[in-house]
Symmetry: C2
Subunit: 183 residues, 2 copies
Amino acid sequence: MDRQLLLLGLLRNQEMHGYQINEFIDEQMAFCVDLKRSTAYYVLDKLCRDGLVSEETEREGNRPERRVYRITPAGEQRFQVLLRENLAGYTPPTYAIDIGVIFLAQLADAEAAALIAARQSAIHDHRASLVALRAVLPPNHVAIIEHHLLHIDAELTWLDQVLAVRGIPHRAADPAEGNTGHD
Amino acid sequence: MDRQLLLLGLLRNQEMHGYQINEFIDEQMAFCVDLKRSTAYYVLDKLCRDGLVSEETEREGNRPERRVYRITPAGEQRFQVLLRENLAGYTPPTYAIDIGVIFLAQLADAEAAALIAARQSAIHDHRASLVALRAVLPPNHVAIIEHHLLHIDAELTWLDQVLAVRGIPHRAADPAEGNTGHD
DNA sequence: CCACATATAATCAGAACTGACTAATTCACC
DNA sequence: GGTGAATTAGTCAGTTCTGATTATATGTGG
């Protein structure tokens, strides 16, 4: 449903053809949505079948023909419903690492610590890339960057706790990373 | 893959039949994994086809026959690989609400505030249920509860920020909820 | 002792999703 | 002026996931 909300919201702003939609998502929204190109075409087709968007094939010059998608009145109504559901409705998320942590006791202290440290390092890298993005992205995306940064910091804090419960008293701040995960 | 890790990890502990696995997951792990019953059967079948678990049909009394699943040596190896990948490998998550927040500007201040407040209320309820669970769950699950609580508090903090950027200066602590989201 | 709810055990059709592939066009540059 | 890379645009076969359904057995109140 959230993919439908996204596509309806984009088409609400202006009609677009499939490739254009995918380009926009890849360039502007890849950091906060996961929508593969083929999945976008699938969802657009579904929206058509449900009468929420209309498609019109056109061709410009000699390029392969392309379909222009346009939101319908029914689609506009659906957008309003989905937006409110998306905002007010909370579905508790699941975290893949919880499964790993359940079985963490199977590993020796040293290896467990090394694996968690590798994860923390990857999270730090991702954090840095978001901070870099914040500088170049349109200002209305800043709230979403802040959202991700808050969760990233929560995750790093928790991983420290997980390590503390095992042997390692506290994660040594890695000089190469530059800080302890906060601005 | 995480579903495979979970099932291999459970079977590593003891052989089980399908219904038993589903019961265990529903009762002990529903708060941290999302694995429908039919999906569990699908994954078990896939693990069989890949030679990672073996199945043996048996019948007890006159009940419908059932399949007992047992991890194979190849499955044990795969478990070791998946566990390490799960712990060390970080895949940045996506949050459904980010889509809604992108379009939040479409709504009037009052309705936006009401929808966000409804969400906060739902998150509070979920938080309370996790705190209640922490008291009754086996101690090795406590780390996971703490994980979820940290993210929930990050989420509540962020929603306050989102409201603050609009009209509402700060979320009024709801007396019916009892606190501001922290122990 | 029988009607109806609950527990046990799983199947299946269909929806959702994705990686690999096709095919034409244009652009750079040698 | 040809050729290899990049861009434009989308299809498709195959995998993954789930709600609805089937079927038998056991408990339980009247």
